[in-house]
Symmetry: C2
């Protein structure tokens, strides 16, 4: 358990070169003679040398790691495929790159401020922040402190770099599908009001309805959870019994909406048509298959990661925003 790992010194000695040459050979091999390179390579292999990251970090003041911050104060903690998608995407984008992924999850006991303090502490080379809520105060804490890319537009996005899907447009597309299907009493089960994604989707829903001259009163928050959506739907149907279409702000919530509709003795899509949002696998889980809006999450995450890497390499890049376009995914719920 305590067999000391070989150091660069030992490699150099074994290869019959100086530590400096060994170091160069290991880091790209610039200005190293072929034979020295070979000698070092074999020595490295023979001894099983692995550079000590701490020492390297100390010497270069680069840590070889980035933080992934998930700000989720609720107990619920995104029982959504969203999180999984982000993890998978970031991890995938980091393949082949020698960067560690440090995971920071903010919650009640570990508030966002303390996260931010850690980020500012200079322990990582950069950060990707997602699932941000209003009041997290994360924005100011990282602005100018370290390279950061947000996934999902932050509330206070002045001078910040982020990638997002056009949630407003997505809401519009979804709602228009319902309108085009002849529905005239279209409600929405929205996400929590402290996230920009929720607000933007609501805005799109509202805009499409207004343009069509329809009422925008039927809105209830489902908090991005199954149970929350079920309860929201119950309230919605109580307030607006004539509802014949619902834009559900996430596919996960559609499960709850479906249940409430069934409990009310109504059918999808005959009585009430449904359009969801995300298409991250959950749409397959509903019967009938949900019509939904594709959220290009994986592309967003990959962009975010690439942008972060650029920003780590060149710290003077101006803030940049990337907005991807959502698309309709037909199903059988309209």
């Amino acid at each position: 358990m305590t067999d000391r790992r070989p150091t660069l010194d030992e490699v150099a000695k074994a290869a019959g070169v100086s530590r400096a040459t060994a170091s160069r050979a290991i880091n790209g091999g610039l200005r190293v003679s072929p034979q020295a390179q070979r000698a070092v390579d074999t020595a490295v292999k023979r001894l099983g040398f692995v550079p000590n990251r701490a020492a390297r970090a100390l010497a270069t003041s680069q840590h070889g790691s980035i933080a992934l911050v998930i700000s989720e104060p609720d107990e619920l903690f995104l029982s959504d495929p969203f999180l999984t998608g982000v993890l998978r995407g970031v991890s995938g984008a980091l393949e082949g790159i020698d960067l560690q992924l440090v995971l920071l999850i903010a919650n009640r006991n570990r508030p966002a401020e303390r996260m931010a303090q850690f980020l500012g502490g200079g322990h990582v080379d950069g950060a990707i922040i997602t699932s941000l809520h209003r009041g997290d105060m994360m924005e100011d804490q990282v602005r100018g402190l370290l390279p950061t890319v947000f996934i999902g537009r932050p509330f206070d996005h002045e001078g910040l770099t982020y990638v997002d899907v056009d949630n407003d447009k997505g809401g519009q597309i979804a709602t228009r599908v319902l309108i085009d299907a002849g529905r005239r009493h279209i409600g929405t089960v929205s996400g929590p009001s402290d996230m920009t994604a929720s607000l933007d989707r609501i805005a799109g829903w509202r805009r499409a309805l207004s343009e069509a001259g329809l009422s925008t009163d039927a809105i209830e928050s489902g908090n991005f959870t199954i149970k929350g959506a079920e309860e929201a739907t119950v309230r919605l149907l109580a307030r607006f019994p004539e509802t014949d279409g619902i834009f559900v702000a996430s596919d996960t919530m559609a499960i709850g909406v479906n249940r409430a509709i069934a409990a009310a003795g109504r059918r999808v899509p005959q009585d009430i048509a449904l359009v969801g949002f995300d298409n991250l696998g959950m749409a397959d889980a509903t019967t009938p298959r949900l019509t939904t809006i594709n959220n290009p999450l994986l592309r967003m995450v990959e962009s975010a990661t690439k942008m972060l890497l650029e920003r780590i390499a060149r710290r003077d890049l101006p803030a940049e925003q990337v907005i991807l376009t959502p698309t309709l995914v037909p199903g059988e719920s309209v």
Copy 2:
């Protein structure tokens, strides 16, 4: 962006003490006079000093980080609440402890061996490994190399420390519920055969059936995914049309099972009774509410994290296994 962070030297100078004293004051304050402590404290606060982790790691040869390894070769990557639960649990158990969580996700491009190599490289103080598949070869790579706790029994568990739920017993409980409800043709939609959790649950199912003198032929693998489960159920019902009960090895898969049953024109529970496994939120997503087996995942994860911390503190602890007991969660699917 490049405003240098204060160093311990500067704190010491500001506090009018030596670097050593400043260091002691910051690390617990042992053998430090009250006034020196105060002086250092205020200096730290005033300068906004944050210890450099790399330097500290280099000096102490402790990295202040543990790895969470998720071994998921499939593209699917656990679209299951399981992963979320593990992340949340580990993150929660680390609260207040100054340990970073480094996330390692193995997949096709980044095979488990390379993970293991990293782990052996001495960049983290310990590791929690979960979602292990047969052939990952992770076991040998970490054995004796660094403190490690597995969540879910590894295949080759000789001398390894792990926590697990008693999957065999869970399978038995689930199957007995079906038997007690009068079902006599009980199949199972299982997980992938390269995970111990799958095999153990199958074993429990088989044992309960054998004891009751019932057939154990009706088994199909659903691979722990919704779609896989749907297809498995189609096959199962084709092979055994008389099936009147199914033990579904995960609640997530139950969604697919449900769909296949509905597509076959049969009803739950009247025609076919269902018992799932996990109770990690997904059971709420099915109609009727799924009868399932509680998987004490959060407790498992918390145990695993605590055990790891102990093992990091005392590297001579003998291997240890913790097996938690699953319990029945009544629903309306039986």
